[in-house]
């Protein structure tokens, strides 16, 4: 990695400048991560008095445990649902806004502000409008004959958290899609329309392929968001229920560790999640090196 051609000489100063960042990182990031690794190899007895070295037993147990496998599949459904819903809506809105000339900035302003709303608040807002007894959406659904109840029905609860998570992410995806759309040369689109391509044909044969880098980048970011930043949505609404139907991995780490006090198992889950984050970050960085394109 480069520095400037000319640099300052320094024996102590550079270390002093780096010290705050490095100390915080060591104490609050690297040390706890090491602890998680270490604890994932131990098992505590029921009273938390002694711990014994059990090797990879905690990991093996996790994969034999039906509730962990369930949590994995719940996470996949949740991440795919949130990503697809949020990116589709955002792409539709961004390509429509991009047609506009005078009203573009007004619509952009009206669409970006939900980024500021905390995931926990997004959860509470959707929890409220879908509330089975006083919410407005169940009331309307009842008129078409559907009994909405996310307290009993796992699929209703899953839909609810997907809506809340996707809603909060629309503005982010929208901004990146809009930036991607604006970087497509206008001449390509003009050439296509002279050749008689309709707007829809132009979208699928020119615009969408040229957006692949943006789409791929957003795909990774959204999966990371759905897997790690949505803890608050789950905790503030369904708390993993009903019957574990929305118990995603990050929520399970917290629930097993803080509520269930099963430290070894929770640490093993932390380690698995770290491996997933590292993999996703690598994919993201590789992608920045060589952008996907045709």
């Amino acid at each position: 990695m480069q520095t400037k051609r000319m640099t300052y000489p320094g024996r102590f100063l550079p270390y002093a400048l780096l010290a705050p960042q490095v100390i915080v990182t060591l104490i609050f990031f690297i040390w706890p991560a090491g602890q998680a690794l270490y604890q994932s190899l131990l098992r505590e007895d029921a009273f938390g008095l002694r711990s014994t070295f059990v090797g990879l037993e905690n990991f093996a147990r996790l994969f034999r445990d039906g509730s962990y496998v369930n949590s994995l599949s719940v996470t996949v459904v949740f991440a795919v649902g949130t990503t697809l819903l949020s990116m589709t809506v955002a792409l539709l809105l961004a390509s429509t806004v991009n047609r506009m000339i005078r009203s573009r900035s007004t619509y952009t302003t009206l669409l970006v502000w939900p980024y500021a709303i905390a995931p926990a608040l997004a959860g509470v807002l959707w929890w409220f409008i879908f509330n089975p007894s006083i919410g407005i959406v169940p009331y309307m659904l009842e008129m078409v004959g559907y009994q909405w109840n996310h307290r009993n029905s796992g699929s209703d609860a899953m839909l609810l958290v997907i809506f809340a998570a996707a809603w909060k992410q629309i503005s982010y995806n929208f901004l990146f899609f809009l930036a991607g759309l604006q970087s497509i040369p206008q001449s390509l689109i003009e050439a296509a329309s002279i050749d008689g391509a309709s707007p829809i044909k132009r979208f699928w044969t020119i615009i969408f392929p040229l957006l692949t880098p943006t789409t791929f980048f957003l795909l990774v970011v959204n999966v990371v968001y759905a897997m790690f930043d949505t803890f608050a949505i789950i905790h503030a609404t369904t708390a993993g229920g009903p019957a574990q139907a929305t118990n995603i991995l990050v929520y399970k780490v917290y629930a097993d560790g803080f509520v269930g006090l099963n430290l070894g198992s929770s640490a093993a889950q932390s380690v698995i999640l770290m491996v997933i984050v590292v993999a996703l970050t690598m994919i993201q960085f590789r992608f920045i090196e060589r952008r996907v394109n045709y």
């Binding site: 024996r11 270390y15 047609r99 980024y115 608050a232």
Partner: protein, 280 residues
């Protein structure tokens, strides 16, 4: 747009207006609900027009909170949120500026090692190492304090990389001229680098402030004393009750969402710049 199609324009406006309505709907419902009395909300169907209890609900939430649900007054929680968000933002920005300066303008042993130490923080979100981090903070006696709320969150790889990237674009001649004139490293940092970075600092400030304000899991486990509750996590205490007082919950939601939303609306240009650059 390359051709004029009046129908297509009409459809486009309809799509956008319904998009805006869809995005705004949950917040609209929250604002409406915060102006009704609880019995008005429980009547069966949710009203869609404002009621007459708005001022009453907001003053009650602001001054006394919902004590039986363990939620202190909103004024206190908003103040705590503000302190925490500002401490996180200022902390992240200052330590990242310093470390980017060291990495770009000095050659020293273990430079790459330190770079990787900072890089690793990207891969360890709080959520995945929550229990061991909690233990560290408990051992350091930092539970129920603003230090505990903010310091563990101020390491920032993204901000460090962004500043590094920006410093690399500053012409070499700046440093050469400064050195010819006899400016030491700290003077160069203060009088040349800082003024040049103002826009970048402001853009990151917006993003980091929203990040800090919206923290949820960390305050939730670090604070047990209501004096340190932040507004975003305090709201959860009110909804987890058996029969939540929805009109007060919604008043609190509106108050909690307002500051970051205003930041985005008034600093949209900086926000977009910060958002697109931190993700590069």
């Amino acid at each position: 747009m390359v051709e004029n199609r009046p129908w297509a324009n009409l459809i486009a406006h309809i799509v956008l207006i319904s998009g805006v309505a869809l995005v705004a709907f949950p917040v609209y419902v929250a604002i409406i609900a915060s102006t009704h009395s609880l019995s008005g909300l429980l009547q069966g169907t949710l009203p869609l027009l404002p009621g007459g209890h708005g001022i009453e609900n907001y003053t009650r939430m602001w001054q006394s909170g919902v004590s039986n649900a363990g939620a202190p007054p909103a004024a206190l929680m908003l103040w705590n949120s503000f302190i925490m968000a500002m401490a996180i933002t200022v902390g992240k920005l200052s330590i990242s500026l310093l470390s980017a300066f060291a990495i770009v303008y000095f050659r020293f042993r273990f430079r790459m090692f330190f770079f990787w130490v900072i890089f690793v923080t990207l891969m360890l979100p709080v959520e995945v190492r929550i229990i061991p981090t909690f233990q560290v903070v408990a051992d350091l006696n930092m539970l129920n304090s603003f230090a505990g709320l903010s310091i563990p969150l101020i390491a920032s790889a993204t901000a460090t990389f962004l500043f590094r990237q920006f410093f690399m674009t500053i012409p070499e001649e700046m440093l050469e001229a400064a050195r010819v004139d006899g400016a030491g490293p700290l003077k160069f940092f203060k009088d040349i680098l800082m003024p040049l970075s103002v826009t970048n600092i402001a853009a990151l400030f917006v993003i980091m402030f929203i990040y800090g304000w919206n923290q949820y899991l960390w305050p939730l486990i670090i604070t047990t004393d209501p004096d340190y509750y932040t507004i975003v996590m305090g709201i959860q205490r009110m909804t987890s009750e058996e029969n939540p007082q929805w009109q007060l919950v919604m008043a609190a939601v509106v108050m909690a969402a307002l500051p970051p939303v205003l930041v985005i609306l008034f600093m949209q240009r900086l926000f977009v710049k910060g958002l697109t650059e931190t993700e590069k």
